[in-house]
Amino acid sequence: MDHRGYYDGFGGAFIPEILVSTFDELSAAFQKAKRDPDFWQEYKEIMSTYSCRPTPLTFAGNLTRHFGGARIYIKREDLNHTGAHKANNVIGQGLLVQRMGKKRVIAETGAGQHGVATATMAARFGFECTIYMGEVDVRRQRPNVFWMERLGAKVVAVKDGTRILKDAINEAFRDWVTHMDTTHYVLGTACGPHPFPEMVTYFQSIIGQEARKQIISREGKLPARVYACVGGGSNAMGIFSGFMDDPVELVGVEAGGEGLDSGRHASRLSSDDASIGIAQGYKTYFLQDSDGQMKETHSIAAGLDYVGVSPILSHLKETGRVRFEAATDRKVVEALSLTIQKEGLIPALESSHAFAQAFVEAPTLSKQDCIIINQSGRGDKDIFTVADAFSDPGWKEFIMQKAEEYNA
């Protein structure tokens, strides 16, 4: 444990002693893979044949005309296999699992996207798979639970703590400290102990590499701004990393929930409610009380409903390289609705946070500017939540009919 993955004081590896050897092994396997030019080639090959890479960069002409400002482009991570950027990370980690010779994978999931992606990877690579998911999230993302189970994964509903993403992470760690000899923990975001933030960012950086090339070939110049939603921060780190050294403003959009003043949100970097702490194996900004106990968070988007955030993003907040904003649940549903109507695209509720903030800023930019919004995932999984948000009468009737059929 020599290099401990610090980003200006954020990060580290605060892990129980029993896992130290496992992390050493993982770090070594990752560093070796990174130095091996064939590894990235193999990764790109799988991502272009099993998933849909490179994903397109879509010009949103109708939204651009609607707002009358910057030209709006959308990076289509929703077109990955399983419908989100999560595929990039799990396939990368899956290749590492093969190299390490392990036979079982476990993962946490919030929205269920990472769980589905992991279950898919496990099916393809022939790994046994267990997914931990907070009981609250199991309820709000039931379709994803269905698919994980169809894919052969065991889904464990976590009933401890706040019963959402952070509790699923704790439970995955508890599994790992017991089964590390055979099992790899496929952490889903750029958080957790070193080397996860670096490793997940590495695999997700494929988004930014593509997006940079694509926008330059389309527009002949760099975008003025790039928008990404921030839960743990993996899709944001993925697209931002392509523009880190460019004169491009990077905007991370967190879950504003019911408003920053309401206390019911998950904004770690864009509110004053968070402070630096150490939990789940790493040091970053957490939503916690003065004793250091983690608070309950809230977001309409399960995937953003998390107390911590990537230590790399905490570092980029401190340096000012990334600007952080928050979008409320209400604004997010409005942005989703507008995007569906104007472009025929259905972003996930998580991704819709990035859209909401971009829509606030696009009209203030010049028509010569262009911006990129990272559509990190598709919204099909949100059908129950969105139907409720719209209070859709036809959907309610359908569900009631369906329930009657089951009761009959």
């Binding site: 130290v20 702490g277 004793d291």
Partner: protein, 261 residues
């Protein structure tokens, strides 16, 4: 200070007992009663766990106790006040067990000074490997407190030596993989592990994780200096109430040498 206490006690007893409670669970009044029962029954040292919302190294029993204590509104300050009270009332060494964020939010230096003022002997912080513990180690040292570090079956020999060089008081040897509170097979292959631990340090060895009855303690006698009973007494209080603790503890050790009251 802690090390010499343990070594002296070991002249009287073949194996020492360390027990564990989660502060504020089921209540502070109950905790006080439990400590009294345990000390009266001959417990030699105790871990007082300050509850934390994300106890990743703990299994279901202690996890649930942490959550219930926090749901009852237990604060770090209340835990400190309680510790002062038991230190004044009972003549055994008390240690804090908690996760690093509790120390970090309190201020690591302030936390050490507070421990010293309260008369605590040391602390066990399971999510703080020595590599991350520079500030903690300095603060503990300057207050003459013992930072207790952990060996596990996955820890290589070289690393055990390095860990031992940072630790004081004793080394907490985790019996097996996994979290607190599950079954441990104390079989012969376990000897090899304890021999490795013994070779790596001259500090006393405490053995914990899954120690639950007299049979386990008999097995550990002569092999470890301290047996740690954690989840089992919490389970007992949950099932049979505070009053059952004393009898349980008395039944754990064969009364051969240095008979207890």
């Amino acid at each position: 200070m802690l090390e010499s206490y343990i070594k002296n006690k070991r002249r009287e007893k073949e194996i020492l007992l360390m027990t564990h409670i989660v502060l504020g669970y089921p209540s502070f009044d109950d905790c006080f009663q439990i400590v009294r029962e345990m000390v009266d029954a001959g417990v030699d040292l105790m871990e007082l766990q300050i509850p934390f919302s994300e106890p990743i190294a703990d299994g279901p029993v202690i996890l649930s106790a942490n959550q219930k204590a926090l749901a009852n509104g237990v604060t770090v300050q209340q835990c400190i006040d309680f510790s002062k009270q038991v230190v004044r009332s009972f003549d055994i060494p008390f240690l804090f067990m908690t996760y690093y964020n509790i120390l970090f939010q309190y201020g690591v230096k302030d936390f050490s000074s507070m421990m010293s003022d309260a008369g605590m002997y040391g602390a066990i912080v399971p999510d703080l490997p020595p590599e991350e513990g520079e500030e903690y180690l300095q603060a503990m040292k300057s207050c003459h407190l013992s930072p207790i570090f952990i060996f596990t079956p996955t820890t290589p020999d070289e690393r055990m030596k390095k860990i031992a060089s940072c630790g004081e008081g004793f080394i907490y040897c985790v019996a097996r993989k996994g979290v607190t509170g599950s079954q441990t097979d104390f079989t012969s292959e376990f000897h090899g592990y304890l021999e490795r631990c013994r070779k790596a340090t001259t500090l006393p060895l405490a053995l914990g994780f899954g120690v639950k009855d007299k049979e386990d303690i008999d097995f550990l006698t002569g092999k470890a200096d301290i047996a740690v009973i954690g989840s089992q007494t919490i389970r007992l209080v949950d099932q049979k109430g505070v009053g059952a603790v004393g009898e349980f503890i008395r039944g754990l050790r064969s009364q051969i040498k240095g008979a207890e009251k």
